[in-house]
Amino acid sequence: MTEFRAAIRQALIDELTADPSVLVFGEDVAAAGGVFTVTKGLQEQFGSTRVFDTPISELAITGAAFGAAVTGSRPVIEIMFGDFMALAMDSLINQAAKWRWVSNGQTAVPLVVRTTVGAGARFGPVHCQIPGTWMQNIPGLKVVCPSNPADAYGMLRAAIRDDDPVVFMEHKRLYLDEGELTDAPVELGTARVVRRGGDVTIVSVMKGVGDALVAAEALATQDGIEAEVIDLRSFRPLDVATVVASVEATGRLLCVEEGARTGGWAAGLIGQVAADALGSLDDVAILCTPDHPVPFSPPLEDAALPGPEDIRAMVRERLGGA
């Protein structure tokens, strides 16, 4: 069994080993090994030309990653907290995401931005956001988010080998989760059905997938409802087809999002499912966070975040207590 954070470290080690053009840099990632110790030991192993600490300069870090990526390197940078992605977005949006297409295919832009996201750790309103939605509308970018160690490993390797820029979000409440790693390649942008069930489709990402599975077990054993659970794994590309296929069987769709309703991925996914398969939908619902920043105080934060019980309650409510 491997911890989620160790899976990420292993993916970095394997790609640093396999390809000498891979670089790893960011704030406090090297000597200290990262604030969540994800990158511990990499600098010792691969040297300070390939793994290094940077100044606190999100614009330069991300912009330099772009410049390095178009000149033969495969940089994997870390933006320490997802909230700080706002400082890095210009380079991602206006350069990295655009250059392959705008140059008419003259270059690839193989860079990865790792960033820690998500609430629940009492870090307050500016160390807990999930910036995936901020960049979900940008053609040329991939935005992915594993929910378990195996995917963390497989998706990060795929991201580093990808020729497009990839934002790789790591939910901080998953770092200590354990699981088995495999060498099975993961295609970025594909969702995965993690539990089969015929009564309702529950879609989530990252921490929400585990919550949905807990809810699904309770629904099965206590309410006689079989939920199909889908791990979206990616904000962009968005695997609408896998969700449509599930909904064609279940007719019911619940999206569980750690984020606000307006502008969230949940509403957008439902909209695309509706555009493709309206006739299959008997009911759709969104379980999300309230329309205010994530609070610091534990009772406030706990109440704001959807958990297994909220999921179960919403499914029961939506299925008319079935």
Binding site: A60, R122, H127, F296
Partner: protein, 320 residues
Amino acid sequence: MNTAGGAGESGVGADEMLAMLEQMTFIRRFEEEVQASFQRGEVPGTTHLCIGHEAIPVGLAAALGPDDVIATTYRGHGHVLARGADPAAVAAELTGRAMGLNGGRGGSMNLTDFAHGIIGSFGIIGGSMAAATGAGLSFRGTGRVAVATFGDGCANHGYFFECLNFAAVFRLPVLFICEHNLYGEYTPWEQVTAGADIAARARVFGIDATLVDGMDVRAVHRHAAAAVARLRTGEGPVFLECRTYRFVGHSRSDPATYRPPGELEEWQRRDPLIVARDALHDAGVPESVTGEAEGTARERVRQAFATALASPFPEPAVTR
């Protein structure tokens, strides 16, 4: 108030100096209690203590008037307390209580108290500089002053340079205080900061910038007071690089193993509390008097946390 027997070349009288020692001692004990509370699980999340930096908030606060504002960082508990925020409300915010400065919504990294001129503590590096620069826009021609505090790590950030240039171009009444403690998280500053000292980076914008002994409250106070006087006349921003050291890790349970051996001890010899106490003794104030600061501080801290911990958590009212 300024009785006979000034505390040395600072121009600060013994009474004022004693008050500053008391405040520094209070901040020190407060921060220690934050750490203890964190370890007991009463302070959730994380903490960034200003232990070792106390001369800066205290020397600065003594130079400001009630209409001046300050924007500080996650390491700003000392500034919030020095400006006069209710310690119980600070403790209550750190412990997530309804009576907290921000009603429990912000926590340690977002302490805000407009009633005491604290327009915010900012968790994003550079945010405090931008906020103070903007306050400077509001204050042009009024004589009011806006202060930003930030660390050495901030000196490599786009915010730092853009704000200094912006404030210089418009001659804004902003006092920029760099609390240079040699590290940004776990990374030594020289390793990521090209060139010489940080003050030079301000000087290149034509900003009056001075290196200050951040362990000596008299020095901080003297330079801050001079800066504030100058700022009130509308002559444009001032920059102080206060050299200091944090005696504890960056946050939470950071053991600070990145420090070279002996470095901590060397700086601890210049502990701002010791420097101030020695100065008072040199000025003839007896130990019986300086010693009182300790007891007062402990009692105030005890009361603040007792009040905070006895107070209720906020009531969630979720609508999704």
